[in-house]
Symmetry: C2
Subunit: 228 residues, 2 copies
DNA sequence: AAACCCTTTGTGACAAAGTCACATACAGCA
DNA sequence: TGCTGTATGTGACTTTGTCACAAAGGGTTT
């Protein structure tokens, strides 16, 4: 439960659906919601678990991923400010176990809501329903593109696209990740990533050093994205 | 709109959520729903389209699949009696375009509902909401397992599992499909399927002939599912 | 500076999977 | 019987994944 005026003000900024809500929902929201912190690296949800609560992220990042028998991973999507996890929603409304893993990647401040409250809000408040359906639809799109990628696109093209996108969300030039971390996002193995990165380096598109890499030819990488 | 008593009776059998519904919803349901037939092979929805309506399947089968640049396909799930398509639902409630293709595989009799009615029911009737959330959750599980399969499992194992499952849903022994059709379900290429089927035949697990194949050693196939 | 960690990256050989360009084989029908 | 379109077979080659290591890097401790 949250009562501090400034907190309420700030939360209303972060979650636009609160601005469109009537006071009945807003009151219920702030009285049933609890703040939590999650530290980097800690497991948020494991495959097969039943979710204890729904979390709305205020700050930080969580990564939701599948883990294969062979130990390989693939990232399904990330959850950032203002978002929540549709898999959790699906678990809660239907009672099925969580079909993936979630881990905290950057320290998270979130609000947690118990399943029973989620169900109650879903029955009572259209604004909340719209928020949930919006989440579901967005995540579904993410997951669908993951399928398209791994089923049909070549790894080198995916990697090129990944580097461009990732650079944008880091400082624009430099990406601080190990090859293993990149491989885990793309659902392939470390060796494959290393090989392709080395190719890119030989072609003058990037430069690689331990734990990070620099983009030097964005246009070249863009081309890699399309044809070979 | 449907008024025939027998029709109403039959539909209530097919869609369990109607049995739990109050008369307000039942009345609204039967007055807003329209029957349609879809013939084998016709396209139901194409990627990028905006859905015209939500369809509840009374009989027949639809296949929902992704199509890659290279022409390969992968089946996401099939929709059978009593079911509907979550992607359509997601399109309708959030207004985003349909992220896949859907085609009629066995002649379909269905009920169609317009988006505005879907939204209205979602706001008014808990029973309908539960039905929708149930669908979403089921399909999401399907899609998640597809990811797990293509990202991590070897094709021969997946094929073995596929054959066993498929035989169960056909006559138990024989599967009438072309190699190309199987490849499209699994998201691989025809040549790969042909090769592995030939291996299986050499090992005495199946026998292959044009357009169909017979399982002869179920246990052997089961083993293939696990280790190599 | 040297020795010692642990983590990250490199490598070569091989297996599995996907691609391409064909060659055959089969089934139904003219 | 031969024709035709679909279905399957095949070999060569590329890409991707796997395995078992070897070789740095970077930080910490002697």
């Amino acid at each position: 439960m949250i009562s501090d005026r400034h907190q309420i003000e700030a939360l209303t900024q972060q979650f636009p659906f609160l601005q469109q809500a009537d006071s009945a929902f807003r009151d219920s929201f702030f009285s049933h919601v609890n703040p939590v912190s999650v530290s980097v690296g800690s497991a948020i949800c494991d495959q097969g678990m039943h979710c204890q609560y729904l979390a709305l992220v205020r700050s930080g990042v969580a990564r939701v991923y599948k883990l294969g028998e062979n130990g390989r991973e693939i990232t399904l999507y990330r959850i950032a400010t203002g978002e929540s996890c549709i898999l959790t929603v699906s678990c809660i409304v239907s009672g099925s176990p969580f079909p993936a893993f979630a881990v905290c990647e950057e320290a998270i401040e979130a609000l947690v809501i118990s399943p029973s409250v989620v169900r109650q809000w879903t029955d009572e408040f259209p604004v909340w329903r719209r928020y949930l359906f919006g989440l579901i639809s967005d995540r579904l799109d993410d997951v669908m593109s993951v399928i398209e990628e791994i089923a049909f696109r070549r790894v080198d093209r995916r990697l090129a696209a990944y580097l461009l996108q990732r650079a944008r969300s880091e400082d624009g030039e430099r990406i601080k990740m190990t090859h293993q971390a990149i491989a885990s996002d793309l659902g392939t193995s470390r060796e494959v990533v290393s090989r392709i990165l080395k190719d890119f380096e030989h072609q003058g598109l990037i430069s690689v050093s331990r734990g990070q890499l620099q983009l030097s030819d964005r246009d070249g990488l863009s081309n890699k994205t399309l044809e070979n």
